[in-house]
Symmetry: C2
Subunit: 233 residues, 2 copies
């Protein structure tokens, strides 16, 4: 059976003998993505993906070694290629748009947040996203490790915000996470958590949709800008 890195990076060549394969890796990944978009990653079983393709469950194992590899394929196909960067833009606008586009991708496929955890083999699409971020920082005076760290910090922030937003029943921002059952918990315990209580009380006025995304993004990019300025001087 082909390895995961081979599955992700080497195009499948048709077999020289035997019957024509009725499926494609792209078709299988697409069916999995459809199932995960509809009912989440937990409901995306081999059985269900196979059924949606009109095939038995075990037929999938001719193409994919196991479920983890299938999810990896789904992940890279779901994130897709990053949008083309605006040619004349500076590093800050480019990274800002990059982060917001990544956020949009995660919101389109919320299950990718469960799948893209830990150190994994990056697929072509994921690596292209990373390439774009590093390319945006090339020439700013940062060295290699710092550029990769900036990209990791940004993508981490985007992922965390998308996670909080997708899991929230009401599509509010961060504040809704603390709403609902948290209100009942906090009631009567204001003395133990005075700062949180005060922060929540002062939030009632204006609730932002994905305000937390822009906020953290602005802070991180401000900090990166400070570092770049200090290097330039």
């Amino acid at each position: 059976m082909r390895d995961l890195v081979t599955l992700l990076w080497e195009p499948a060549e048709p077999p020289r003998r035997g019957p024509r394969p009725t499926l494609t890796l792209a078709a299988i990944a697409g069916a999995g993505i459809a199932a995960a978009d509809a009912d989440g990653l937990a409901a995306t079983t081999m059985q269900r993906v196979a059924e949606s393709l009109g095939v038995t469950k075990m037929a999938l194992y001719r193409y994919v070694p196991g479920k983890t590899e299938l999810v990896a394929l789904m992940l890279d196909a779901a994130v897709g290629a990053p949008p083309d960067p605006v040619p004349g833009a500076g590093w800050r606008e480019t990274l800002d748009a990059w982060a917001k586009a990544l956020f949009a991708r995660f919101c389109e496929h919320p299950w990718t947040l469960e799948a893209a955890v830990g150190a994994r083999v990056l697929g072509p699409c994921e690596l292209t996203w990373l390439e774009r971020a590093v390319a945006a920082l090339t020439g700013t005076g940062l060295h290699g490790g710092e550029m990769l760290d900036v990209a990791a910090t940004l993508s981490g922030h985007v992922r965390n915000l998308a996670q909080q937003m997708s899991a929230a029943s009401a599509p509010d921002g961060l504040e809704s996470e603390l709403g609902g059952p948290m209100q009942a918990v906090l009631a009567g315990r204001e003395d133990r958590f005075p700062a949180v209580t005060a922060a929540l009380a002062s939030i009632r006025t204006a609730g932002g949709q994905d305000q937390a995304l822009d906020f953290g993004l602005a802070r991180i990019l401000d900090g990166v800008g400070m570092l770049i300025d200090s290097r330039g001087r």
Copy 2:
């Protein structure tokens, strides 16, 4: 069966009649934590937790409605209470120490990174961590939503870094994530990913242990400092 919020927040009162319970919520959570620390969250099954307590699997369901609630209890017990803040420290040192302490907790129990995803009911310990962060920012001129956003950004950064570090086989930093199989992938594809290739090439010189944590932390706190300064003026 008691609700999750009740399990987390209301102390269990002994039953008025019937035999003495042989187990405790704390003992069950501790057994689960031990199992998860040893072999990960996937290997932490009801059967195994029950066996380590000398009890049948179904006995656990007298204390916990299901596995998700058990994991929630384990999570809050594993993160534990935050360390006491240094009294005279400013907001920046306090948040820096807060983030590093949180990082250490996550590294002690790597499975918490899998468990603490999405909008969930915060337990007493988790809420105390949030309280400390918001308290550190009280009086800086930021309003409630901004303080919560800063805490979310910081905890998200810490979590992402801990995730990358715990999943890496070699305990290197970010660079090791792109090492190993990524090197083989990048070989021969330098034209498609020139920026990443260049960044990786310039990283060979000095590899930092958890350099990425400090780097992102410094950027975020720099950005927060800029905002606070602009409010002060």
